[in-house]
């Protein structure tokens, strides 16, 4: 079982390295995908390896000349990687999210890697607008067309359906892991859970599925961890939280039982209809997202992140909520006060942890986490 997790951790730690090896072995195309809403299924159906681009661990150096330091770590890291030549193995990038910072990054990448095709298709972000379905279908049709131009042949509907099925299978397997974790039937650290999800953003899907299936058959029961505080982790859009923060939460007495992280449940919560025409199915999947796990970068009336979180925290019997917020992430900053107020009103302990690409001062964070765990323990006991 450990060997599967080790493999996931290795891939998660070096996604572009995995993509390079895959390319060398298969001769196929690698397509970089931008978070958080592109259906990588289409790129997969085009015979490519879709790889969700990740923040890397390197400090920002050369990137300073092309991005301000008041941009989120993900954008700064993407630009730095682009300028360091890290994307040289990519055959294209699917770009075009709504976040204003990412729009700027798209242009910096276009200017600095002129030969790299950018399949730019901005998704409609008002996902309950009366034109949202038509516009989303148009966007996916356009993306489909652009992928066909890239690979020089038609992409069969049957292939898209097969990719949808495969991706659904992978998501389903990961959701089983989530259920097991919620119910205390598996001992998986937050670090390990991140490796499972993050590697699925990168690996060949069939391989990932096979490994996960093996892993699930070998799983062992969780040792009792009576004294730990059950924690729900929320937030951290687009890029993975640093592993040392996740470790610290656990060494300070917490046990992560659920999350809505992009490198977590947000990535796997919804499947795509396997029966409907693919473009329609993809559009429905996209447009229903906020009703399931609200995302602050999309707007839907009546879908509230804070209400979702209160319910999700109760459903998984978490004792408290830790919000991980990437510094300078505007969508998150706009909505955080709503979450804070809702949790205060309900009396559920919560803690905001701001993260940075450069890392956080762990000693200070340790003290805050220990205090949080103590408060939460007392609240539970009361």
């Amino acid at each position: 079982m450990e060997d599967v997790l080790d493999l996931f951790e290795d891939v998660a730690a070096d996604s572009l390295g995995y993509a390079r090896r895959w390319k060398e072995e298969t001769g196929g195309r690698v397509i970089g995908v931008l978070p958080m809403h592109f259906p990588a299924e289409l790129a997969h159906a085009a015979g490519a390896l879709p790889v969700i681009l990740q923040e890397d661990e390197e400090p920002i150096t050369i990137g300073h000349k092309s991005v301000f330091n008041f941009y989120c770590g993900f954008n700064r890291s993407l630009i730095d990687q682009a300028l360091r030549g890290k994307f040289s193995g990519l055959d294209a990038i699917m770009f075009g999210d709504h976040c204003v910072q990412l729009l700027g990054t798209a242009d910096v990448i276009r200017a600095n890697i002129p030969g790299l095709p950018i399949l730019f298709n901005q998704l409609c972000s008002i996902i309950d607008a009366e034109w949202a379905l038509a516009e989303t279908e148009r966007t996916f049709q356009q993306l489909w067309k652009e992928l066909e131009t890239l690979i020089g042949r038609k992409i069969d509907e049957a292939d898209v359906r097969a990719s949808i099925r495969l991706f659904n299978r992978d998501r389903g397997l990961m959701r089983r892991l989530y259920d097991l974790r919620r119910n205390g039937q598996i001992a998986l650290s937050a670090r390990q859970m991140q490796a499972v999800v993050k590697s699925s953003m990168v690996m060949d899907k069939a391989q990932h599925c096979a490994l996960l299936e093996r892993f699930l058959t070998q799983k062992r029961s969780e040792p009792s961890a009576v004294r730990s505080v059950r924690v729900f982790l929320s937030g951290h859009l687009c890029h993975a939280p640093k592993l040392d923060i996740l470790d610290l939460i656990e060494t300070c007495g917490g046990r992560v039982v659920d999350d809505d992280l992009y490198h977590g449940f947000r990535f796997i919560f919804a499947d795509i209809d396997e029966q409907a025409p693919p473009v329609r199915a993809l559009a429905d999947w996209y447009l229903s997202r906020n009703r399931k796990v609200p995302c602050p970068t999309r707007a839907v009336k009546g879908a509230d992140w804070e209400q979702y979180l209160l319910k999700a925290v109760a459903d998984c019997r978490a004792d408290g909520l830790i919000v991980l917020m990437a510094k300078f992430c505007e969508p998150h900053m706009f909505f955080y006060p709503e979450i804070k107020e809702a949790f205060e009103r309900r009396g559920v302990p919560h803690l905001l942890v701001e993260t940075e690409h450069e890392g956080v001062a762990l000693e200070a964070l340790k003290t805050r986490l220990e205090t949080f765990m103590e408060i939460t323990r007392r609240a539970v006991a009361a």
Binding site: K65, S66, V67, F68, F70, Y71, G96, H98, C99, V100, Q101, L103, G104, A106, D107, V108, R110, A111, I118, F120, Q122, C124, S125, I126, A129, E130, W131, E135, P296, T297, A299, K301, G302, K327, F328, E330, P331, M333, F334, F335, Y336, P337, E338, K340, E341
Partner: protein, 452 residues
């Protein structure tokens, strides 16, 4: 995006101490702005429904439907002019809005919090009988909220929060104005498949917006009225461009800062004869100055371009600062690439499509290659020698492509400096840094001048 209400203030002690020779004709704009707010404060008494909106210049749609409208940004600017932005920002901060969030949104949201009655607690640093509080209390609450923010996602999220602050009870409509990426082979300024498709997409949404207005007023939308209103807007827009063109003269008779104070009329004031009168006045004064060789800056030696969002707390201050080194900021991305800058696209019989197109080409809504192409064209036209890049800390909408713009400027033999500040949060502005960098840039421009 924001409009200006000019705030008189001290002048920097810097350079030769000269102050900007601002246009006199723009004062009429101040009167129009005040009249607009006064009539807005009476809106409910007059039985008018009130729309709060953010983003691009959609008021002609409201004007034609006899609605009153509040441009969120303009309201914040109005408060800033009365030094009321601090309590608003503090109110936002108290609710947990991070200082790194768009300060314009923070001011507006904080203001809404105050409007929502929290002022009574006395916790917001402003007493209920303070004159500013009295002004704030006059703002009519929204009957509808409309968001039409090109390019910037923060603009959309900002209104999402306003909608929530009002208990999700006020009907809200959002117009998506997507980026013109310009990646297809046929892409160019105002052309290509993407341009055509996006134009129709936004125009259709604007028509849907009129249905929303009908639904919430119970009255039929009158497109003939819209054409009529747009007739004035188009005329005013043409006059503005003609007046801008006169600033190719040396010395430039008007500066970027005069155009900044001329934004309100083309952004949110009612589309009527006053707009036309305003720009006729501005054009006449500029023409006269050009004929008499009078510049916006005494002894103009250097001509600059201002890139980025305006630093609204510092308009007068900056105007004087550049004047004090004989530099005239002649043009800017914000002023010269927005606010009905393509009036000929508007067909008065069917104005909606052309309106959508003007909204689409706001100063940051083009992908970098096309946007920078336009900036270079403007710089060539106005004989620009240097670029002033305002790195507005909390406005990613306008900082996104600035490094690429500066690189392009340098490739074209223009100097470029960056200075830090913000749209509406004064604490990010670093005067000393700007002084040093401006002096250094002027020195290099001087050396360049001598070498030539």
């Amino acid at each position: 995006m924001l409009n200006l209400v000019d705030r008189p203030g001290p002048s920097p002690i810097f350079g030769n101490g000269e102050r900007a020779n601002r246009l006199q004709s723009t004062r009429f704009g101040g009167k129009l702005v005040n009249a607009y707010w006064e009539s807005l404060f009476r809106a409910k008494e007059e039985g008018k429904k009130v729309v709060w909106y953010n983003g691009t210049y959609i008021p002609p749609f409201f004007h034609a439907h006899d609605l009153a409208w509040v441009h969120g940004e303009a309201w914040s600017a109005y408060l800033a002019a009365k030094h009321g932005e601090m309590p608003a920002q503090k109110a936002g901060e108290q609710r947990g809005y991070d200082r790194e969030l768009c300060s314009y949104a923070r001011t507006h949201i904080g203001q809404a919090l105050i409007d929502l009655g929290k002022l009574k607690d006395g916790t917001l640093g402003i007493a209920p009988d303070d004159e500013r509080a009295v002004t704030m209390a006059k703002l009519p609450p929204p009957d509808m909220i409309i968001n039409a923010y090109p390019y910037c996602s923060s603009g959309q999220q900002w209104d999402d929060i306003t909608y929530r602050l009002f208990g999700k009870k006020v009907p809200m409509f959002t117009v998506s104005i997507p980026l013109l990426w310009g990646g297809r082979p046929d892409a160019g300024y105002l052309r290509g498949e993407e341009w055509e498709q996006r134009s129709r997409y936004v125009a259709d949404q604007l028509v849907a917006m009129t249905r929303f207005l009908e639904e919430h007023t119970g009255r039929k939308y009158n497109f003939d009225r819209l054409s009529e209103v747009m007739g004035y807007v188009k005329k005013a827009a043409r006059l503005r461009l003609e007046a801008m063109d006169l600033c190719t003269a040396t010395p430039s008779p008007a500066s970027f800062f005069d155009w900044i104070v001329s934004i309100a009329p083309v952004n949110f004031l009612p589309g009527d004869q006053n707009l036309v009168t305003y720009f006729e006045g501005v054009k006449a004064e500029i023409k006269e100055r050009a004929e008499r060789g009078i510049g916006a800056v005494k002894d103009e030696k250097y001509r600059l371009f201002f890139d980025g969002m305006m630093n609204w707390n510092k308009v007068g201050w900056l105007a004087d600062k550049f004047a004090a080194v004989n530099a005239c900021v002649v043009a800017g991305r914000y002023t010269h690439m927005s606010f009905w800058q393509e009036p000929e696209l508007i067909d008065l019989d069917e104005p909606v499509l052309g309106m959508a197109q003007n909204y689409l080409i706001c100063p940051n809504n083009h992908g970098a290659p096309i946007m920078i192409g336009e900036i270079e064209r403007i710089c060539d036209k106005f004989g620009i020698g240097g670029m002033v890049m305002h790195a507005s800390r909390t406005c990613r909408g306008m900082t996104n492509s600035q490094f690429l713009i500066a690189e392009s400027a340098k490739r074209n033999g223009r100097q470029a400096l960056f200075f830090e500040g913000d749209v509406a949060d004064e604490s990010f502005y670093k005067d000393e840094l700007l002084n040093t960098r401006l002096e250094a840039m002027i020195e290099s421009m001087e050396a360049q001048r001598r070498a030539a």
